[in-house]
Symmetry: C2
Subunit: 343 residues, 2 copies
């Protein structure tokens, strides 16, 4: 695999972020890892751009920005082409799946990922939905077809939570996972605590700063953190659970500035924490001491692993941002290259 071909499905913030970082780091990848990857297809909600010899990523990004779809990519764009059609017709070794998260049935990402693996392609995704509803099925399919399923970008934004556990803690048994995994609510709680403002005011500020989606329901009610915890529990604790199995999910909607003041009197603050071990799997606002290692502010994420040999390991980093998140898809891609070339 010296000239791996890539299909990108989903060209929103994360898909475009991946195209940007791949373009930015192309020379480094060629030099350091001896492979020359090329993107042979990009699919968005209105159509696709396809060129077996490789698309010009800068041009694709420009067209997407100006025309709202890559389907107008000169010479190679086509309206109304779907992801499944592209997977069927375009030869490639890797699918980069970056469609929006759907936690009801994981679609359309789930079908793209299954189809890609069925046809022998490795999959890299930033999409929590398919993994939160069908982790076991996806994992089994990847084994069955001897392809890699890489999903470090689904958890932690720029913080490499899953790859740390998989590549740096092998041999350790991970006993428990505890973390602050939602950048939006962490920003909101930080602002409420710092500025003594209401949750509504903090949400407004988060929206103004582009930290928060227009509808932040899934962040606020704990759903986003719960999906991430389901992925971590499956991937690292070998628990076979789906998002639907999770009864104990509580969000931050009812947290008031008074709660935060009370917490402060005890040397604590309130964070939306996900917790998983052999038995437990829950998400809820918790009192966290200021000197707790996972007590990070603003849009930072932090995760503590308790392990049998190395004891506690904590990783923290930026929990959001398309470039930060895409950097992990790039790392996933490089890990696939390395595994194929023994570099």
């Amino acid at each position: 695999m010296t000239k791996p071909r890539i299909i990108i499905i989903g060209f929103g913030n994360v898909g475009r972020g991946f195209a940007k970082v791949l373009n930015m780091k192309y020379n480094l990848i060629v030099e350091k890892f001896g492979v020359s990857p090329r993107v042979v297809a990009i699919v968005d909600s209105r159509g696709a751009a396809i060129n077996p010899r490789g698309l010009d990523l800068e041009k694709a990004l420009y067209i997407k920005k100006s025309e709202k779809t890559v389907a107008f990519y000169p010479g190679y764009g086509k309206l109304s082409v779907t992801g499944l059609e592209v997977l069927d017709k375009v030869d490639a070794e890797i699918l980069v799946e970056a469609t929006p998260t759907n936690i009801v049935d994981g679609e359309p990402g789930l079908s793209f990922m299954l189809e890609a693996m069925r046809t022998g392609r490795h999959v890299i995704t930033a999409n929590k939905g398919p993994l939160a509803v069908a982790f076991y099925k996806l994992s089994e399919e990847s084994k069955k077809h001897d392809v890699q399923l890489k999903f470090d970008a689904t958890v932690g934004g720029g913080t490499p939570v899953i790859s740390l556990a998989k590549h740096c803690l092998s041999g350790n048994q991970i006993v428990s996972i505890r973390g602050v995994l939602n950048a939006t609510t962490n920003f909101i709680l930080t602002k409420m605590s710092e500025n003594h403002c209401s949750i509504e005011e903090a949400v407004k500020e988060a929206k103004e700063k582009g930290i928060c989606e227009m509808d932040p329901t899934y962040d606020l009610n704990g759903t986003d953190t719960a999906c991430k915890m389901v992925i971590l529990a499956n991937a690292l604790l070998e628990r076979r659970v789906t998002y639907k199995d999770l009864p104990e999910v509580d969000g931050i909607e009812k947290i008031t500035v008074e709660d935060l003041k009370e917490a402060r009197k005890k040397g604590c603050t309130i964070k939306l924490v996900g917790l998983a071990d052999e038995k437990r799997l829950l998400v809820e606002p918790m009192l966290v001491p200021f000197n707790d290692k996972i007590c990070v502010d603003n849009t930072l994420n932090a995760v503590e692993f308790k392990t049998d040999l190395a004891k506690e390991i904590v990783i923290m980093g930026h929990g959001a941002g398309p470039i930060e998140t895409a950097s992990k898809m790039l790392n996933d891609m490089i890990e696939i290259f390395k595994s194929q070339t023994n570099r």
Copy 2:
């Protein structure tokens, strides 16, 4: 490489720790990674135990404890056999090098590592000396003979600093590295700050708790941290430096309880910090704000990477302990297995 053979040279705390964790995790390695590693030779300062069919690690640990050398291992032990003789005579795919650190010329570890690579063996080490004096040479030899040189255990105790950067941040450029990397001095500074005691009293407590070596000179004067920074600068910043090139190393010997009190007034404490970027490479006691992510206490280590894509990433964990350190040699070994089997 389904039945990799291992030679362990150096059977002190770390070498024994490796034997313990390998023994403890043997079944997991067989099941999860499809390989059955066996230790075919163990060498200590007085002799060796050699069995091409594999030594019983529990027995080797018991003999070492009771007889002070594996040379009395029943049937397979021999006095006065050296590491180089074993490397010459015993077939194996992997050398686990765990002799004591020597920062003057890196010996005897340096010769063992070079000889192992020259004869086609992968090397896993916890020994800072050879890498601090001859990183470039070792790295070139590993490329020349197409073997892997793994040294995550040289930095951070149980904290996977190097493997995080190598396996989870590929594609990122690491711009700078800043960290608290010496468990002994961090424990001493913590005790001085908490108990308002002198450095002598804190050293005494550290010795009583087994945290500190009998002669802690290299910890106190910054040498240990400097060696680790040299390794990080070579491995992650592509700087070709040796320990001897490092002019700016200052230790904690002159830090007083008054200095720590003054620091506290400014919302800070004093930590022995290593710092490296494209130009700088230094080790010195620094004022560190309490809310700085690398401000960890006792024997914890913490490292902050500044990167171009993922921005800041911080990892923290236990900075000492034979089992913690050996867990990273085990991870290094598993990474070698994975790279050979594409698992």
